[in-house]
Symmetry: C2
């Protein structure tokens, strides 16, 4: 099977685990491989209401059997969906453009920010990843090829309360990281590129679910706005009740973004994404550049997206994510007391980062150990992944129906695997 895959898709189509997993079935927080082995899914955020949720599957089936056309015809599903969706945002975020992928949503956001401001410069963190189209790849500063040569994207240091410079904390640490933002803005201005905006995942998920020092985001956004730029919140990972006692990760701070992008969990695996902004901004963008997306906002896409909202609301999954998240975080912190490898535990709703270090004082990253650990966990039936600057941060991001009993399995397995390393 691996041979066929290499022949048909090449060797660079990424795969998880040293021994790749051949999955055949999913239900709730569980997955099964071709040999009948069951795995607890503590990684996948796309199936946010659980794998193969019957309400979502039925909504897709019913609509696919009835009608599926593009949005150049009128249909109730898209109106009902955008009405429900925009109601979950603070004013003036009241209008939507729908697309298919997170990359497409971020493309719209970047085009919109540049059109609105007349400037080109976009600020991102130095560990950002926002997608795979050319203009979005330019923002993938650490590893995307286009990012190496672009002049219109500048990175600032990822704000990291755990790995900040020795001796700095609180306001001083905030000031340290803001200096990096200031330098990027000044660089754009001195080169006549101007500041179009700052594009961040407010949960700093790809950066390692970092905890920013107090006031950093608010002040960085204020600096960008003072320079004429917009605040773009990439909620592709952090949105839909994943990261805290609110629907959107940007609500952790007291500021409303100018543009919000949405993706992954939006359709529980059906390709749908979107951009939310003010009516004025979307009308202006729309009259500037014709935008139409054949596959976006179709009756089927919106039936699915409406069904996902139904389940999130009816099963109170965002609320459950907060309580299960707190339970899991407490368990991880108690593991930390017994395993010196765990340097830091960061939790935002039902999204956890467990940073592994070989020495707590120096915070030396335990990169090799984290690689061995995720493969050990997979062998013992729990799926997680890792990320971060040193690939030493375990990434726990289960479907939202994850409950304390599932957290117990995860914690027990992690405990065993840490002991077995």
């Amino acid at each position: 099977m691996l041979e066929r895959r290499y022949r048909l898709l090449g060797h660079n189509s990424p795969l998880f685990y040293q021994k790749p997993l051949h999955l055949v079935r999913g239900e709730g927080v569980w997955l099964w491989d071709a040999d009948g082995n069951r795995y607890l899914d503590a990684y996948n955020n796309v199936p946010c209401v659980g794998h193969c949720h019957p309400h979502v599957v039925e909504a897709m089936h019913r609509q696919a059997a009835t009608l599926n056309v593009h949005t150049r015809y009128l249909h109730e599903n898209i109106l009902r969906y955008v009405e429900r969706l925009t109601a979950k945002f603070a004013p003036p975020l009241a209008m939507a453009m729908l697309a298919c992928s997170g990359s497409e949503a971020n493309e719209i956001a970047l085009r919109m920010a540049r059109q609105q401001t007349g400037a080109q410069g976009i600020l991102v963190t130095d560990l950002a990843y926002h997608g795979n189209t050319e203009a979005v790849a330019e923002t993938g500063i650490a590893f995307m090829p286009e990012a190496k040569t672009t002049r219109r994207v500048r990175a600032f240091a990822s704000p990291d309360a755990y790995r900040g410079p020795e001796g700095l904390s609180g306001e001083a640490l905030t000031a340290h990281y803001l200096e990096s933002v200031r330098a990027a803005i000044e660089d754009f201005q001195s080169q006549g590129i101007g500041v179009a905006g700052i594009l961040i995942c407010p949960a700093f998920a790809n950066e390692g679910l970092l905890e920013a020092p107090p006031g950093f985001v608010e002040k960085a956004v204020a600096m960008v706005r003072a320079a004429g730029g917009l605040y773009i919140a990439d909620e592709v990972q952090g949105g839909f009740g994943r990261t805290g006692a609110y629907w959107w990760s940007h609500e952790a701070y007291g500021i409303t973004p100018d543009i919000v992008t949405l993706g992954k969990p939006m359709g529980n695996g059906f390709p749908i994404s979107g951009v939310i902004a003010s009516s004025a901004m979307i009308e202006s963008f729309g009259s500037w550049g014709m935008y139409f997306n054949t596959f976006a906002g179709t009756p089927v896409a919106c039936a699915v997206a409406n069904a996902v909202l139904d389940v999130l609301e009816n099963e109170r999954l965002p609320e459950s994510a907060v309580s299960t998240g707190a339970y899991l975080a407490a368990g991880l912190r108690s593991l930390q007391e017994r395993h010196s490898l765990i340097g830091d535990v960061r939790d935002k709703g039902l999204f956890m980062a467990v940073e592994l270090v070989s020495d707590r004082a120096s915070r030396a990253p335990a990169s090799a150990e984290s690689g061995r650990l995720i493969n050990l966990m997979r062998e013992r039936g729990v799926l997680i992944s890792r990320l971060g600057r040193f690939d030493n941060v375990l990434k726990l991001r289960p479907p939202l129906p994850f409950r304390p009993e599932h957290a117990d399995i995860l914690l027990a397995t992690l405990d065993e695997c840490l002991a077995a390393l």
Copy 2:
């Protein structure tokens, strides 16, 4: 409903017809509106095997109820699909990258062409449209804002055997259009931009389904290749048996593209697209820039795409498209004998362009009449659209299960509407 739409999606989200159509049901080549009126669909190519085809709907339902995950796990569906799909291309086109939309596929193709050649310049026709992301918008030379300022895209005159300069035909007309390609190449070379490739829809669909003069495509591609560039065939509209007695519109000419992009009909409305190239090219691109697409190539996407291939093959729809297309074209040409408004009829498989002119000698475009006509047709229950440089070309592009009895309805209604104009 229109008011809600304007409030939620803005005034620039495009709609068809003076009186927009509120559709609620589809089946085969038929659509129904909210008032129970039935329409013959002679426009939509996305539902290529017919609206709501039960085999496709069931395949989607079955897989969605079983498992849907990204491609970092192994799954049979993607392998089976890419095996079947690549078997339909000539060597060396043997490997695929999957994505969600035509824009995403063309993004990959442009990134790949630029990476492979080390050059930046892309040639397109002066009426091209290939998608809505920034880099692809640069190729939308006639109306996308980014196209106005880009230095790395140059247009050549759309080759048009009907509207070419007075007195030129055959070889002389070909030479006339090739001169425009030569100038674009020379412009890139003199500015040090280099030639990365030529990106065309081989059916020249968006240009008005133009008939290129003999040898034009072959010679233009040869010139681009001699300058170091690649031939990218955009089969998003023309692929999957739509345009002739072959699966891909590029087969109308005797040359194999370096990169092929696929989209619209691929999933009968489910968001799936793809790029086909040689193994060497995809391996090289993959090692240069990490590419992963969360929603692409999932078990559900590939179940749907496999089901679409099943229907195309089992119901012999590409073959039927050729015969019904010939029947419809003959009918249109006989209408042309009686209606002087019809200046030209162009047919490629089951894709027709009917160019309306107010004067056959001067070929003065009948733009206003074509606008009135498509609205009249809609009122009488037949859905078509229009396009072209002067918006005077009727676009007939029905689902492939369209049969001679449907063509008869279309022809009779068109006859009536032309008479009623």
